[in-house]
């Protein structure tokens, strides 16, 4: 039997890391992540958990310390948000380039300036090309489960890529929900101990990690990551099923999750906690006899092109919600990628909820109304003040 606790998303992530038996944690506070590393610190202070905890002096060093520890051959964890993730940017490429299965919680928060501590996805979307797998959880239960799954995915020998679990700042980080806590022994049996065959620092087996990638080898290292991303789609689906077998919870097929897609001509595509709001609106409309569907992108990297195509087959109106902006191209990132994925469809892109602007049910209704009227590809800002 799983115990149920009423906890925040950050606590759920911390419990996930504890259950995964991470061995080295690098911690640096930043709103709205801080509670996650505070909870881990308390576990250790209370003797409930015996991980090495490095109180680093910046997020750059947090990622650098995780890289050093992971390259030595242990399971690592860190958490960040926004400016902290941006400061890590350089090291994110190094973690994936060195093929280190680091797992990180990112609590999505807007980027400065002006400084803003509230939710949007600009921080992690900006890191989409770093070679990290990105999972966007919709609630606190999924946050905990995703952290555990992340280790299984990252450490798979076919993958060996770092994983970022993204949760909406404040909306999930500071809201309590009932969360089922998996049995510790079950999780530890499921994940096992991290014993890398490829990357270790051991005087008995001296290897060189992070050499100069001369032009004769650099391109191949990029292709390796590309291929691992492709393989990750299969592994993520498999892990989703394995997890269901053991812990009785799954999230769509691991990559995408549909809601009310059958017979829906109009479908909204979104990531993160806003999917809860969308489902609420969908249910309400259904009562009025109107059929609208939701396709939640759970795994943004690797991007599940095939699944999206399949699940949106025959759908006429596709509305994509983006909590981020690609300045200059003037669309959201998900919008542009959906456009590239579904070349023959009408896709409208909605810029929503930047810097903590609420996305209300009436915003969603407005989107649906606009989408059904709209004739061609268009990007529209929703919830903007005049």
């Amino acid at each position: 039997m799983e115990k149920i606790d009423v906890i925040t998303g950050t606590t759920a992530a911390a419990i996930g890391a504890k259950l995964a038996n991470v061995e080295v944690i690098a911690a640096y506070p930043i709103t709205p992540q801080s509670e996650c590393v505070e909870v881990l610190a308390k576990f250790i202070a209370d003797g409930e958990f015996d991980a090495e905890y490095i109180k680093v002096e910046s997020e750059h060093s947090a990622m650098a310390a995780c890289i050093g520890a992971s390259a030595t051959g242990v399971r690592t964890f860190t958490a960040t948000a926004s400016q902290g993730l941006a400061l890590m940017h350089e090291m994110l490429y190094i973690a994936s380039g060195m093929r280190l299965p680091i797992v990180m919680l990112n609590t999505n928060r807007a980027l400065s300036a002006p400084i803003n501590i509230w939710c949007d996805h600009q921080d992690s979307i900006t890191e989409r090309d770093t070679g990290w797998i990105q999972i966007y959880a919709k609630d606190n239960q999924e946050t905990l489960d995703s952290i555990i799954q992340a280790y299984r995915i990252a450490e798979d020998e076919d993958i060996l890529l770092p994983v970022m679990v993204c949760i909406d700042g404040f909306i999930l980080t500071h809201t309590v929900e009932p969360v089922s806590i998996p049995d510790e022994k079950k999780v530890r049996d499921y994940l096992g101990i991290y014993e890398p065959k490829h990357a270790y620092l051991d005087p008995d087996r001296p290897i060189t990690q992070g050499p100069v990638g001369v032009p004769e080898c650099y391109m191949e290292t990029r292709k390796h990551i590309w291929d691992a991303m492709e393989r990750a789609k299969k592994v993520i689906k498999r892990v989703n099923e394995e997890y269901y077998e053991i812990f009785n919870r799954r999230y769509g097929n691991g990559l995408v999750e549909g809601y009310n897609l059958e017979n829906a001509d109009t479908v909204l595509v979104a990531m993160g906690s806003v999917c809860g709001t969308i489902r609420y609106v969908i249910d309400k409309l259904k009562e009025k006899g109107k059929n609208v569907g939701l396709l939640r992108i759970r795994t943004y990297r690797p991007f599940p092109k095939e699944e999206i195509k399949e699940m949106l087959e025959g759908v006429e109106n596709v509305g994509v919600l983006d909590r981020n902006v690609s300045f200059g191209f003037n669309m959201g990132a998900l919008g542009t990628e959906m456009l590239a994925t579904l070349r023959d469809k009408k896709i409208c892109n909605y810029i929503v909820g930047l810097g903590g602007r609420d996305i209300t049910p009436s915003n969603i209704e407005e989107i649906i109304r606009h989408l059904e009227k709209c004739e061609d590809v268009e990007t529209k800002w929703i919830g903007l003040k005049e």
């Binding site: 380039g97 060195m98 093929r99 280190l100 990357a199 060189t208 080898c217 650099y218 191949e220 290292t221």
Partner: protein
């Protein structure tokens, strides 16, 4: 085949790269004058000076780049220099 993460599993594999071809001057060690003080041995940036089984110091010309630190630092002038010829 490039390894995953471009990790190098063969320690000391630069030995394949014979840097002796860089040399313009060749240090020549006269064993009779050598007092085995190990000065040339420790100051060689290449580790190209070694002690043979008989306890004599030798220069490994496969790697010696001809910096001549050994010649300069030898307290008994046991290491002279000659210009390399091709």
């Amino acid at each position: 085949m490039v390894t995953i993460g471009a990790i190098i599993y063969e320690p000391g594999s630069t030995v394949r790269n014979k840097t002796g071809s860089w040399r313009t001057f060749r240090p020549v060690l006269n064993s009779e004058k050598c007092i085995k003080c190990e000065i040339c041995y420790i100051f060689c940036p290449e580790g190209a000076i070694y002690e043979d089984e008989k306890g004599n110091f030798k220069i490994n010309y496969d790697y010696c780049k001809g910096c001549l630190i050994c010649s300069k630092e030898c307290p008994t002038n046991a290491i002279t220099r000659i210009r390399e010829e091709k």
